[in-house]
């Protein structure tokens, strides 16, 4: 019992660290990747005794994003605006960050791993109803943003907060409907079981990933996930040309760092969820427990420990690729107007999600059992 707790704690810390590093990667991508997309250089001025030039790579901007930004954020003065509710102003970043971090715990980042005779499930919290847990934490995540906007005693922040709340609760429904279709397909609420059933192949060579079974649900979940994390094109709450930072405008220092971290962590979470549901999670194509079974009939035996580690690496690679894709979307699309956003959410995604559930239900009943 205690060893399970210890292992669970270690895995949870590992997942939070993975989330943290993904957020830093996203921050770096936000600076230098966007510069690459927009054909400019990006941030490259910050320097520590000419370290970049000495190492021969002056323009990578590593010092800028990885050292200067966090140091700046955490050493800034932390003020509460005049007339604002001190308690709520301090609570809001925590309420925004906490649900995102605890969601990292249920995401399976690998199959079981066997070390010294003990078998550990590479998932920090093996909850049976993990899909419902996801929806619950996404629902709680609304409060941080709402209270952050309201507790700032600033009408523009309030505007950003209300827009964010309305957007998040609208796209929660679209996300839930896409999730329902996925749950119906796999017949289980457990994420590890969902990923496990994405092993194997169809027609001898096509990996049995979720995106091939539920392409519409993938698109719905992707859109709803981007809207939930308030990224462009859905970043009206944080309308940078109108509300400066929207609901975060009266926050500085560590609290703003918490909000920013929430932004990137939610993006990483969306990427991880998409990978888990639709892109096979930690499944490597054609890799089974004993080794590779290639379509041509070749077989490559691999040790079980290496199989598990390959799974973890595959998961991380898929998540990084999807995070980069989300960053690409962010730097390519213009922002939605509020009524367009609401129309897309309620009149576009929700009916599509319902139709998807209906069609999935028909197919499941017609083929007599879950896929």
């Amino acid at each position: 019992m205690t060893i399970e707790l210890v292992v669970g704690a270690i895995e949870a810390i590992l997942m939070v660290l993975i989330g943290l590093h993904l957020s830093i990667f996203l921050l770096y991508f936000e600076r230098k990747g966007s510069a690459l997309i927009q054909d400019r250089v990006g941030a490259n001025r910050a320097n520590i005794t000419g370290l970049g030039r000495k190492l021969g790579m002056p323009n990578l901007g590593i010092i800028n994003t990885l050292v200067a930004d966090p140091v700046k954020l955490f050493t800034k003065e932390d003020f509460v605006p005049d007339g604002a509710d001190h308690f709520l102003h301090g609570l809001a970043p925590f309420l925004a960050l906490f649900p995102v971090l605890i969601t990292f715990a249920v995401i399976p980042f690998g199959d079981t791993i066997t070390i010294a005779g003990h078998t550990f499930n590479l998932q920090a919290a093996g909850i049976n109803a993990a899909a419902l847990y996801l929806l619950a934490t996404i629902g709680i995540g609304v409060y941080g943003v709402a209270l952050g906007g309201w507790a700032s005693n600033n009408r523009w922040a309030l505007l950003g907060g209300i827009r964010a709340t309305a957007q998040m609760i609208s796209y929660e429904i679209a996300m839930g409907l896409a999730l329902v279709a996925v749950i119906m397909t796999y017949g289980t609420l457990d994420l590890q079981a969902m990923v496990r059933s994405q092993g194997g192949v169809w027609f001898g060579f096509l990996p049995r990933w979720g995106i091939l079974v539920q392409p519409l649900a993938f698109i719905l979940f992707l859109t709803a996930g981007v809207a939930e994390s308030k990224r462009i094109p859905f970043d009206l709450p944080e309308g940078e040309s109108e509300l400066i930072l929207g609901y975060m405008v009266e926050y500085s220092g560590g609290k703003q760092a918490a909000f920013m971290f929430t932004d990137f962590a939610e993006q990483a979470l969306t990427a991880m969820l998409l990978v888990t549901f639709f892109l096979g999670g930690w499944q490597v194509p054609w890799l089974y427990r004993d080794g590779f079974h290639f379509p041509g009939g070749h077989f490559l035996a691999i040790a079980p420990l290496a199989v598990s580690i390959l799974g973890v690496i595959a998961f991380l690679i898929k998540v990084v690729i999807l995070c980069a894709f989300l960053g690409l979307v962010r730097w390519s699309l213009p922002r939605f107007r509020y009524d367009q956003l609401m129309r897309l959410g309620w009149k576009g995604l929700v009916p599509l999600g319902l139709a998807n559930v209906l069609v999935t239900a028909f197919i499941i009943v017609a083929t007599g059992g879950a896929h």
């Binding site: 419902l132 929806l135 619950a136 629902g139 609304v142 409060y143 209270l147 709340t165 609760i169």
Partner: protein
Amino acid sequence: MPLILFWFLATLSVVAALGVVLQRNPVHCLLALVLTLLTIAVLFIGQGAVVVGFLQAIVYAGAIMVLFLFVIWLLNLPVETGSTGRLAAKLLGAIGVAALLAELEVFWVPSHLQVKAAGHVAGYGAIDALSQTLFSEYLIAFEVTSVLLLVAVVGAVALARRTTETEIQQRPENSARPEKAA
């Protein structure tokens, strides 16, 4: 469910419920209520009702309370200053509540609770068992509840709507009538 966890959650839920009733700032009352709902959701999960516990967190704490929050903002409720009610009402309320608690305590004495304890079947509280019971024994109630939700949505929209200018003009007392010669 571990006993320590139960006592922690029980204390937390009672403290949060008291917070709902005693706070002066409506938003603080709301946050205390969200905390109560979440602790009750965890208590549900501890009892084995996993799906209902998560549904409580999703629906109650995640959606209904956000609705409350929106209404508090819309009405721009101030922090309450001054007395929060007549003293006579508070005294009567206290006496009534004490009587209610005493009566309930009589019922919950262990010797009076004649509940046959039965074990949980495998998959108790999982979504399969819930759906089976819901769609077989309680099907009519389920359908009626969906109609109720539709009625509630329509009713809420109709009640909270502002009357538009054209509707005010179309009222009979506002329509143009030929002036009678006095």
